[in-house]
Symmetry: C2
Subunit: 435 residues, 2 copies
C-alpha cells in the first residue's frame, strides 16, 4: 500500500478525480499501483450488484500500473485507471461488441483512443458492458443507485463504473443518446464532443454520420483533461473565474415527453441561474426542428443496416430479435432518397441553429424525461438527446438534480460546434450554481 493509504487521507483513492490522481502520483504521495488496487477493491466489493464490466483481469491492470511506477514516466493521466465500452478494440483484451457473434474476439490492435490514453499514462482497467452493437438490446449492467433500474444505454457499463467510483474516467460512444442519457441516469458528468473531433478508429461503427466517442468523469475538469489526451494535444487547464454565461433555455421539441417533476426542476434551475447573474432567455426552435428526431432515425437506421451487412448475411440467428425487428427492419425499409433527404434536412437545421448560437454561449436543456425507469429490458427514452447528436454540437450532462425517488436527473448544456472549451467553462459555472 502507498503512503497515502497509510496516512488515511480522505477521500479514498478510488474516489479521487483523475486530476487529483495525477497530482498525488506525480508528487510521489502514492503509486499507480495503489490507485489501481483501490479501484479494483471497489469493483470487487460492488461488481456483483452493478455488473458494469464485460472483461476485467485485475492482474493485467496491476501489471500496467506497476510498469508505470517502475518507468517513472509521467503523462497527462499517469496512473489514472479508465474503462472503455466493449465496442472499442484492444490488442490485449477481448472485444465482443455486446454480441455473441464476437464471443472471445481478440483484435490485433488498440483503437486510437485506447492507444492515446495509454500513451498519456492511463491504466486500462477493462472493458465495460455495452448494449448489442451499441444499439438498444441491453447488457447486464444495473443502475448503481438502484439495481432494479436501467443505467441507461448504450454506454451502460462506462456510466455505471464511473458513477460507482470503480474508475474515475471511462469512454463510451453516442449515436443517439448513448453517452449523455446514461450520464443522467447514473449521476455523472457525460460529454459528447463536437462530431468529428475525436478519432473513432478501432471503434465498431453504428452510424458514422452520427457516432462520436463519449466521455465520463466525476468533474468537468477531468472531462477537459481527458479530451486533450484524446486529441493528442498538451493539457491546458480551464481558465478560472469564467464570467456568467449567456444561456438559452431550450425546452426542445420533445418537452412534452418530459415528466412534470423534471420540467419543474429545469424551470427552477433556469431561475436560479438567472438570479446568479447569467443572462437567461427562453429559446424556441423553429418548426423544422420538429422533424429532427425522424431525420436522425432514418440516417441512423440506413447506415447501421449497411454497416452490419456481414453480420446480417452470416449470423442473422445470433442477432437479437429486438435488433432484427427494430433498427434493421427500419433501415432495410429506408430508401436512399429518404436517407439523403434526412441528411439534407439535418444540414439545413445545422444552418438554422448557427445564428441562434451567436446570442448564447450555451443552451440549457433537458437530457432525460426523468429518473432511470424501473426494469432492465429497456435503456430509456433518448428523444431529448437525438436532436443535439444530429446537430453535431458538443453537449454535456451535468448531474445536478434528484428526482422524486431520490435518484439522479441531469441537465444538458449544449454549445456551438467547435466550442467545446466554451461548453466546459459554462458547464462548470452552471454546475457550481446548481449544487
Amino acid at each position: 500500500m502507498g503512503p497515502m493509504t497509510a496516512r488515511k487521507l480522505a477521500p479514498p483513492l478510488n474516489e479521487l478525480s483523475a486530476t487529483e490522481i495525477v497530482e498525488v502520483v506525480t508528487a510521489g504521495r502514492t503509486t499507480c499501483e495503489a490507485v489501481t488496487r483501490a479501484c479494483l477493491d471497489r469493483i470487487a466489493e460492488r461488481e456483483a450488484e452493478v455488473l458494469a464490466w464485460q472483461y476485467l483481469n485485475p492482474d493485467q491492470a496491476l501489471a500496467q500500473a506497476r510498469a508505470l511506477d517502475k518507468s517513472g514516466r509521467t503523462g497527462p493521466i499517469t496512473g489514472v485507471p479508465f474503462g472503455i465500452k466493449d465496442i472499442i478494440d484492444t490488442c490485449d483484451m477481448p472485444t465482443e461488441y455486446g454480441s455473441p457473434i464476437y464471443a472471445g474476439h481478440q483484435p490485433k490492435s488498440d483503437a486510437a483512443c485506447v492507444a492515446m490514453s495509454r500513451r498519456a499514462g492511463g491504466v486500462l482497467m477493462g472493458k465495460t458492458v455495452t448494449t448489442e452493437f451499441a444499439n438498444r438490446h441491453p447488457g447486464k449492467t444495473r443502475n448503481p443507485f438502484d439495481p432494479k433500474r436501467t443505467p441507461g444505454g448504450s454506454s451502460s457499463g462506462s456510466a455505471a463504473a464511473v458513477a460507482d467510483f470503480m474508475v474515475p474516467l471511462a469512454i463510451g460512444t453516442q449515436t443517439t443518446g448513448s453517452t449523455i442519457k446514461p450520464g443522467s441516469f447514473c449521476g455523472v458528468f457525460a460529454y459528447r464532443p463536437t462530431w468529428g473531433d475525436l478519432r473513432c478508429v478501432g471503434v465498431k461503427e453504428a452510424s458514422g454520420s452520427l457516432d462520436t466517442l463519449g466521455l465520463y468523469a466525476r468533474s468537468v475538469e477531468d472531462i477537459a483533461l481527458f479530451r486533450n489526451v484524446l486529441l493528442r494535444i498538451d493539457p491546458e487547464p480551464l481558465p478560472s473565474g469564467t464570467p456568467a454565461p449567456r444561456i438559452g433555455f431550450c425546452r426542445t421539441p420533445a418537452w412534452s415527453q418530459v415528466e412534470p417533476a423534471t420540467q419543474k426542476l429545469l424551470e427552477t434551475a433556469a431561475q436560479v441561474l438567472a438570479r446568479a447573474g447569467a443572462k437567461v432567455e427562453d429559446v424556441a426552435l423553429p418548426e423544422t426542428f420538429g422533424r429532427a428526431e425522424e431525420s436522425h432515425r432514418w440516417i441512423s437506421s440506413f447506415e447501421f443496416t449497411r454497416n452490419f451487412t456481414w453480420e446480417i448475411e452470416n449470423h442473422w440467428d445470433k442477432l437479437s430479435a429486438a435488433l432484427r425487428n427494430g433498427r434493421l427492419k427500419h433501415g432495410l425499409g429506408c430508401s436512399f432518397e429518404q436517407y439523403r433527404d434526412a441528411r439534407e434536412h439535418a444540414e439545413q437545421c445545422r444552418q438554422v441553429l448557427a445564428p441562434i448560437f451567436e446570442r448564447y454561449d450555451v443552451l440549457f436543456c433537458p437530457v432525460a424525461t426523468g429518473e432511470a425507469p424501473i426494469g432492465l429490458d429497456d435503456t430509456g427514452n433518448s428523444s431529448l438527446c437525438s436532436l443535439w447528436t444530429l446537430m453535431h454540437v458538443p453537449a454535456m450532462n451535468l448531474p445536478v438534480f434528484k428526482g422524486p425517488n431520490g435518484l439522479p436527473i441531469g441537465a444538458q448544456v449544449v454549445a456551438r460546434r467547435n466550442d467545446d472549451r466554451k461548453l466546459f467553462s459554462a458547464a462548470r459555472w452552471v454546475y457550481q450554481q446548481l449544487t
Copy 2:
C-alpha cells in the same frame, strides 16, 4: 469451360464489363466459374509483370464461383469477379494494410463493402496492392502500360488490375487522389463518391473527414451498377439519351503544375465538347480555393497521425521512413487550432462552391499533370485531386487522352455533392464525345 468460350465469341470473358457478365451469366450463356477462370488465366499470364495482387488464391476464388453456379442465385453482380485494396478487411483472406506490422493479419469479419458485394453475387478474387496504410510509400505494383512507370497510388493494384483486364471491378479508397489519379495513369474509369455515401466499416481509416471508397471499372455503367450494390439498393440503369450537359471548364488553382501537352489536350477537349452541343464556360474559382490544398494537408495529417497512435507507439521501427518523415512529422507538428481552422476553411469553400454548381451540371478539370511518371518510388502528383476530395463532391476519371508517349491521361468530371447520378450521365456523354 462454358459454352461461351466454346463458341469463341469475342471479346474473351475477362474483357467483358460487369454489366455484360451479369447478362451472359443470367442468360445461362456462361458460368460464374468460366468467367472467374478467364480472369485467373489473365492474371497468371500478366501478374509477374504487373504485380497487382497482394493476396490471390485461385482455388478460393473458383470455389466461390462454383458455389454461385450451384446455388442458381442471381443478384445485381452475379458472377462478377472483383478485387479490393488490401486496406479492406476480409473474413477469409489476410489483410495487411500495406505494412509489415500486419503481416499475415486475419480479420474476423468482412468490411461492409465486401459483404455487400458478395451478397450481390460478386466473386472476391483477392486483395490488391496498396501503398503503406494508403499513404505514399509505394507497394510493388507497376503500370500495366509500362512496367518502368508507377500505376499511381494509393489504390495501385486495384487500378492496375482493372486496366489490365484481370477483373472488371475493383474497390480502392481516396483521401487525396488515391482513386482518381491511378485511374488516369492506368486508363480506367475511376469514381470517388459523394463523401459519406458509401460505408467504410472495415476499411482502415487514413483521415476520416476525407476518406471515401473509390470504384474502378471499364465503363460508366459498371460504376453506376457497383455503386448501387454498395448502397445496398436495387439496380437502376442510367437514363438513356441524356441531353448535352452544362459544363464548367475549371482549370483549378494547380493548373500551372499541369504539363503543357496535357493542358493542350484539355483545352482542345473543351472545344470538342462545346462543338458537340454542350454549353461550356470557363470557371475560375475564387481566391480562397488557393489555400484548399494546404487545408487538405493539415486535416489529413492531423487525423492520420492520431489514427495510427497504436502503430506509432508500438511499431515505430516498422513504419517506413517516408511515412515517419512525411505525413507523421507533418501531423505531429499540426496544432489543434490549425486543424480546426483548416476544417472551417474547407467548410467555407464548400459553401462558396454550392452556387457555382447551380450554373453547371459538372465541372471539367485536369486529373493529373501528365502521363504516369517513370519510376516506382513515387506515386505521382495529387494536387489536382485534393481540392475535390476536400469539397466532398463526387468525381470521376474518364480515360480519354493519350499523352506524348502513348500512355493514358484522363479528364476529371466533378459534380455537386449528392449529384452522383447526374455525374454519371454527364460523364457518359463527355466520354462519348471524346473517344
